[in-house]
């Protein structure tokens, strides 16, 4: 009577406290991510984004992970980040990549019972690939993307950018995401140990 059919005993529903945590940490992560991302709108630096954004945003995210003890929180974070990107004008692909990467990250965390530090690092590393959703138009809708860029940036930059991004570089950028994510996770972990433990908020 007190247990629904088919629900595992240790599956807890998300409570107000959890939703608030999702809200504040996703907001912080997104702000840091977005501020770093602003650099990327200068065409050439765009290719460094997969490294820089996850790196800096690792600090808030790792702190967030120490508070995540239930399934669904990181999935929500991924979804919300995707939706926020949509609202700020990045089209719909980041929503998909946000949901998928959030889910994957959540599952990885769950497999470590929300206690394993190495699973947290893996989780964030994989999660960071969500930003590739934003690179979609660059690689899979090339003509319209570059055409739209010409009036603002001029034909020269567009040509330069096109020459810097051959099709295989898509995979290169994914690798860069993973590297950035990993470094960000390590950075976050060391900051956790150095500061947050002492401040008593872990």
């Amino acid at each position: 009577m007190f247990r629904k059919e088919g629900v595992k005993m240790n599956r807890q529903p998300l409570e107000t406290r959890d939703f608030i945590n999702v809200g504040i940490f996703t907001a912080t992560y997104f702000v840091v991510f977005f501020v770093c991302g602003m650099l990327g709108y200068i065409p050439i630096f765009m290719l460094l984004l997969p490294l820089v954004c996850p790196l800096a945003s690792g600090i808030p995210f790792m702190l967030y992970l120490t508070k995540v003890k239930k399934f669904g929180m990181v999935t929500m974070t991924g979804t919300i980040c995707g939706v926020l990107m949509l609202v700020t004008g990045m089209s719909w692909q980041p929503v998909i990549s946000g949901i998928v990467c959030g889910l994957v990250a959540d599952l990885v965390l769950k497999s470590g019972d929300y206690k394993s530090a190495s699973k947290m690092v893996l989780s964030y590393t994989l999660f960071s690939t969500w930003l590739m959703g934003m690179m979609y138009p660059l690689y899979f809708a090339r003509e319209s993307y570059f055409k739209d860029m010409v009036p603002t940036y001029g034909q020269d930059y567009v040509d330069a950018l096109m020459s810097y991004t051959p099709p295989w570089s898509f995979y290169g950028l994914i690798v860069l995401c993973l590297v950035g994510g990993f470094l960000g996770a390590m950075l976050g972990k060391s900051v956790l140990k150095r500061h947050f433990l002492r401040a008593g908020i872990v």
């Binding site: 608030i20 907001a27 912080t28 929500m76 739209d148």
Partner: protein, 245 residues
């Protein structure tokens, strides 16, 4: 004494927009202004959308915002259409960088202005009421409301931290040599602040009974007015223009 109830919750008045309209507006603005081209319809629609936030600020009587963004727009467009073409002789990296930065600025300024408009003119109560009207699940609603209210908070906290750090001599300029240090001195206090605020927020929310199964009472005025329909027409027009070109 006339037969009037004490609390008469009327509909919204004047040029106030429903939060749902504002959200669709940000989305429209963002997508069309950032990814849109310049041919055909777009030649008219883009400036229209770009100047819309100014108009909206003016209609609500928010003159400070109106002046601030008018000034920024003027600077940005002056840079893009006057300064840069004239300095095209300054080719090379600096010119390239400058063009990139100004291009970014002019692309994003209208979006940013629209976002600011929405954030400054919508209270959390209105936002939550709108979410409830579109039947968003309770949990998502809490998260979104928190995020919505939290962005300005983060900005304030960050300013305060920057001020404090500047007093200790850890400035933006000196951090170019060591960006990691800058991250550490800015982000770490921010995170600690965020966590403390989160705890207070949770306590306050629970004290107000948020998250229980009862429906929340709300006495703010939202709803679609004639002005909303005008804005809707604009939005539909913008999307039509984008699809057509």
């Amino acid at each position: 004494m006339s037969q009037q109830t004490l609390w008469e919750v009327q509909g919204p008045k004047g040029f106030k927009l429903d939060p749902r309209t504002k959200l669709i507006l940000i989305f429209t603005s963002g997508t069309i202004l950032i990814t849109g081209g310049q041919e055909g319809w777009m030649l008219w629609i883009r400036p229209l959308l770009a100047f819309l936030p100014l108009v909206l600020f003016g209609l609500l009587g928010r003159w400070q915002a109106f002046l601030k963004y008018s000034l920024l727009y003027t600077l940005a467009y002056a840079a893009e259409f006057y300064l840069l073409p004239n300095f095209a002789r300054h080719i090379g990296f600096m010119g390239f960088l400058a063009t990139g930065i100004v291009g970014v600025f002019t692309r994003f300024l209208p979006c940013w202005a629209m976002g600011q408009y929405v954030v400054q003119t919508t209270t959390v109560s209105e936002f939550i009421a709108a979410m409830e009207k579109i039947h968003m699940p309770q949990g998502m609603m809490i998260s979104f409301s928190v995020i919505f209210r939290f962005f300005p908070t983060i900005k304030e906290e960050f300013s305060a931290i920057s001020d404090a750090m500047r007093m200790r001599g850890i400035q933006f300029k000196s951090s170019f040599k060591n960006p990691l240090v800058f991250l550490e001195y800015r982000l770490v206090p921010l995170m600690i602040s965020v966590v403390k605020i989160g705890e207070e927020l949770s306590a306050a929310a629970l004290a107000r009974g948020l998250g229980k199964d009862r429906k929340r009472t709300n006495i703010c005025r939202i709803g679609f007015t004639a002005f909303d329909y005008v804005v809707f027409a604009l939005i539909v027009l913008s999307w039509f223009g984008k699809v057509v070109s």
